[in-house]
């Protein structure tokens, strides 16, 4: 990247995130993913199986994370919840990429009035708070949580669209694009084969940074009882259950809560590190 050479040295120094925290984050993320995939398979219990000998039991060799009020194994339920939470995040992120990338490409490449209009729309959408959108979507899609989270993805594309547009503006007059145009390549061909490969890196970074937002949104919605419903489970559902009983059995809050927080932290840290590596501009926006 050409910007690296005239980067302000103080900005580089201001980054406290060192490589080891990124490695740690990557490792934890792999651990979370791996346990979500394999956990329910290797655990000796089923997610909905009740152990009558161990109701609300603390962690032990028999139940690694303890059991809930009706004797269901918390380890399996947490891993099952991880599957659902991550799946939901995957759905929402895919939807947001499907909208954000073409939107940003088109706005950045065409420029002019169309660009102005498209980005003004993004600005207007930014002023809408997420939970407002979420609750409206709940009113509309309340009966189907997966549809709800797909719809949620339709509101996570704003950052992606901005980044893609910015990157497109940078490369749209590059030599190889002009050359392709001179050779008579169609706009679609230029967008797909010349611009898209060049903005892949930033898109990956901002996708990593968008994942925590989606995971948190899912947990909030399910926590409020508006998202994933029993007997299905997710981190938000488990945390909501854990809160009910945190005085008598704190492990029911501790394990799902920690796993949720670790995943969010790891995605944030990894995304920040990748962004620093690529010298991308920072947009401070949480949620």
């Amino acid at each position: 990247m050409s910007t690296a050479t005239h980067q302000n040295p103080t900005l580089r120094r201001s980054s406290v995130r060192s490589a080891w925290s990124a490695w740690l984050a990557g490792g934890l993320l792999l651990l979370v993913l791996g346990s979500a995939l394999l956990g329910p398979e290797i655990a000796p219990w089923q997610a909905e199986e009740m152990d009558w000998q161990a109701m609300e039991a603390p962690p032990s060799a028999r139940h690694w994370f303890g059991t809930d009020l009706v004797g269901r194994d918390l380890f399996v339920r947490t891993m099952q919840g991880a599957r659902v939470s991550l799946l939901v995040a995957l759905i929402a992120i895919s939807v947001s990429l499907c909208i954000g990338v073409p939107w940003g490409l088109l706005a950045g490449y065409s420029g002019g009035l169309l660009d102005q209009l498209m980005m003004r729309f993004v600005d207007a959408m930014y002023s809408l708070p997420l939970i407002l959108i979420v609750i409206l979507l709940v009113v509309m899609f309340g009966r189907n949580p997966y549809l709800l989270f797909a719809a949620l993805g339709a509101f996570f594309w704003l950052d992606i669209a901005r980044i893609v547009r910015g990157q497109t503006l940078r490369v749209r007059h590059a030599g190889f694009v002009e050359a392709a145009r001179a050779m008579g390549a169609s706009t679609t061909h230029i967008l797909l084969h010349h611009l898209l490969p060049n903005i892949r890196g930033p898109v990956i970074v901002y996708t990593t940074l968008a994942i925590p937002g989606v995971i948190l949104a899912e947990s909030f919605i399910s926590f409020l009882g508006l998202g994933i419903q029993e007997p299905d489970t997710s981190w938000g559902v488990l945390v909501a259950d854990g809160v009910q009983t945190m005085e008598s059995s704190p492990w029911l809050l501790l394990f799902p809560g920690t796993m949720l927080a670790v995943t969010v932290w790891a995605c944030n840290t990894l995304g920040d590190h990748l962004r620093d590596m690529m010298d991308l501009q920072q947009t401070d926006r949480i949620n």
């Binding site: 302000n8 103080t10 900005l11 120094r13 201001s14 406290v16 207007a124 930014y126 002023s127 809408l128 708070p129 997420l130 939970i131 407002l132 609750i135 409206l136 709940v138 009113v139 509309m140 309340g142 925590p212 948190l216 947990s219 909030f220 926590f223 409020l224 009882g225 508006l226 938000g236 945390v239 909501a240 854990g242 809160v243 945190m246 005085e247 704190p250 809050l253 809560g257 949720l260 927080a261 670790v262 969010v264 932290w265 944030n268 840290t269 920072q282 401070d284 926006r285 949480i286 949620n287």
Partner: protein, 305 residues
């Protein structure tokens, strides 16, 4: 400045109209109505109910009626809470939500600025690293986990503060902290970056060469620069605090408008949901407008753009 003011105000108002209209039509397009219950109502009664709430009119007419009433500050009757108008319900909840939001905003800005300055004093030091690590953790741990943890520690174990409900100012301490935590962390990160950049400015170097005290340099020469990005961050922060209170009100059993929002959504109380959307979006848009204006006032280059 007048042109800039007009432009921003117009944009905010246009956004408000678009939001209200979009929400109106989305809600009407949603499957299921406010009177769908376990049992189907007899057709006559249903027709009467529809007529009483003007739901039998063409959509365009309902829309015009809603906008006309809205212009007069009337948000309509609640579909579910029979004896209340939406305006009355919102007036009941608003003081709680505003108090909660403002205290959280104050905590986020004060604590965040303090931590950010402390971390920026010597970038890369042990102090900086540990503060920023703590910061990243408070961004990552969601409110639905921190809020119960705070309750467990301060209300159940130490019994210093009430666990939930409202009635005294003490009831707002834990909710405000829980709500403010991730935003305080974001403010700290922002201020830290801005302060480190400010430290490299030549006028700060001059001030240091003149022999001014560190405290004075920070207060007079660095903070005013570092505060500019903070002001632009206040827009999204205020929006986040306002809507974050939906969750916090639920956890701490505070009777604010966030609770009406969730109840309204669950019961398909269209007018109530619409009313909360109107309140939220007008609050957020006016806050963003204020931030824009303050920004234009602080930095003349923005006015010109």
């Amino acid at each position: 400045m007048a042109g800039y003011l007009f432009k921003r105000t117009f944009f905010a108002f246009a956004t408000f109209l678009v939001v209200v209209s979009a929400v109106f039509f989305l809600l009407r397009a949603a499957p299921g109505g406010p009177f769908d219950g376990e049992r189907r109502l007899p057709p006559d009664i249903e027709a009467n109910l529809q007529a009483a709430y003007h739901l039998d009119e063409p959509l365009a007419q309902q829309y015009a009626r809603y906008l006309g009433n809205l212009a007069q500050g009337d948000l309509g009757p609640s579909f579910r809470q029979k004896d209340f108008s939406v305006s009355e319900l919102i007036a009941l909840g608003l003081p709680t939500s505003v108090l909660l939001g403002l205290s959280a905003l104050a905590i986020a800005v004060l604590v965040g600025t303090g931590v950010g300055i402390a971390a920026s004093l010597s970038p890369g030091s042990g102090m900086d690293r540990s503060l920023m690590a703590l910061n990243n953790v408070s961004i990552a741990v969601p409110t639905i986990v921190t809020a119960p943890a705070l309750v467990l520690l301060f209300a159940v174990i130490l019994t210093w503060l009430p666990a939930g409900g409202s009635g005294s100012l003490q009831h707002f301490v834990l909710p405000a902290i829980a709500l403010a935590l991730p935003y305080a962390a974001a403010v700290a990160r922002l201020i830290r970056g801005a302060m480190i950049e400010a430290a490299a400015e030549t006028h700060v170097l001059t001030a240091r060469a003149k022999g001014l005290s560190q405290a004075r340099i920070i207060r007079r020469h660095m903070l005013p620069i570092a505060a500019v990005p903070l002001i632009s961050f206040l827009g999204p922060t205020a929006a986040g605090l306002l809507t974050g209170s939906v969750v916090v009100e639920q956890i701490f059993d505070l009777p604010g408008i966030g609770r009406y929002f969730v109840q309204g959504a669950l019961a398909r109380d269209y007018t109530l949901v619409m009313g909360v959307v109107v309140v939220y979006s007008s609050a957020i848009l006016s806050f963003n407008l204020l931030v824009d204006l303050a920004y234009g006032w602080l930095d003349p280059r923005i006015r010109a753009a």
